[in-house]
């Protein structure tokens, strides 16, 4: 039980007394919006810790982050499509793949060691980032 809780709850433990900080929310909001607008992704990975830092429990933070990112993706998605980043021969097959993959991922979720997977995921993120930026 303890092993299960600690992974997501360490931020809550560290910050459990800091609630309702509008300035902090606004600063994180700017970062979330900038990532979503400029890069088309990554906002959610900022929004979750931003919410836990302002006192939202971990599980609720993951759910509430989606409520924040969804309208942003509608805005930026519309801008990207309208401004010419819309190649149907790329967008249609990729989105179809993402959609099917998303269902599979949600079904797999309960069967996998999340910490090992997170570690691998972050290592891949860093490797991809280095490849892109160097």
């Amino acid at each position: 039980m303890f092993a299960h809780c600690a992974h997501n709850n360490v931020m809550e433990l560290l910050t459990s007394k800091r609630k309702n900080r509008p300035l902090l929310s606004a600063i994180f909001g700017v970062a979330v919006g900038a990532a979503n607008g400029l890069f088309g992704g990554g906002g959610g990975m900022i929004a979750v810790p931003a919410l836990t830092l302002t006192g939202v429990p971990s599980k609720k933070a993951h759910a509430t982050a989606i409520a924040i990112i969804l309208p942003l993706s509608l805005i930026s998605g519309a801008v990207y499509l309208a401004k010419g980043a819309a190649d149907p021969s790329v967008i249609l097959p990729s989105c179809a793949g993402v959609f099917v993959g998303g269902i599979v991922g949600a079904l797999l979720l309960k069967k996998i060691n999340s910490r090992g997977l997170s570690l691998l995921f972050y290592a891949l993120m860093i490797a991809a980032g280095l490849k892109l930026s160097l």
Binding site: F2, A3, A6, V10, A26, G29, V32, G33, N36, G37, L38, F39, G40, G41, G42, G44, A47, L51, V56, A61, A63, T64, A67, I68, L70, P71, L72, L74, I75, S76, G77, Y80, L81, A85, D87, P93, S94, A96, G97, V98, F99, G101, G102, I103, V104, G105, A106, L108, I112, R115, S118, L119, F121, I126, G129, L130, K131, L132, S133, L134
Partner: protein, 145 residues
Amino acid sequence: MNTAVLIAIGFAGGVLGGMGLGGGTLLIPLMTLLAGVPQKTAAAVNLIAFVPMAATALAVHAKNGLIQKDAIAPTAIPAATVCALFSLLACNSKDETLSRAFGIFLVVLGLLMLAKLLLSALAEKTRLAMLAVIRRDLPHTFAQK
């Protein structure tokens, strides 16, 4: 660009997203690095594909009472404003520039997340060690069970 490759990459990104790992952060570099998709097109794919999945997830979470409504506006309002401006900026920038900036963003975010993961693993180990000490030195605390 190869349709089968695009479907496969989309599928991989979708699995990660469905597992709640932040699929877009890997979907975009997979598309640009492996399939040669321009950064802005990859970004558009991530944004568009996210909408139906997020809407479904949101409906389930709302039903389970997991949405903290008063926490949405303070982050979402500044985020939406900046998001609109920055997506216009992105559409007027070169794919190569955006891709490089995104790479730096991924490295920084990845290192931060890694640090958080290691910190939580350390906290868990400390907590278990402290519990073991309490159990050993204060056995009467647990005797009732």
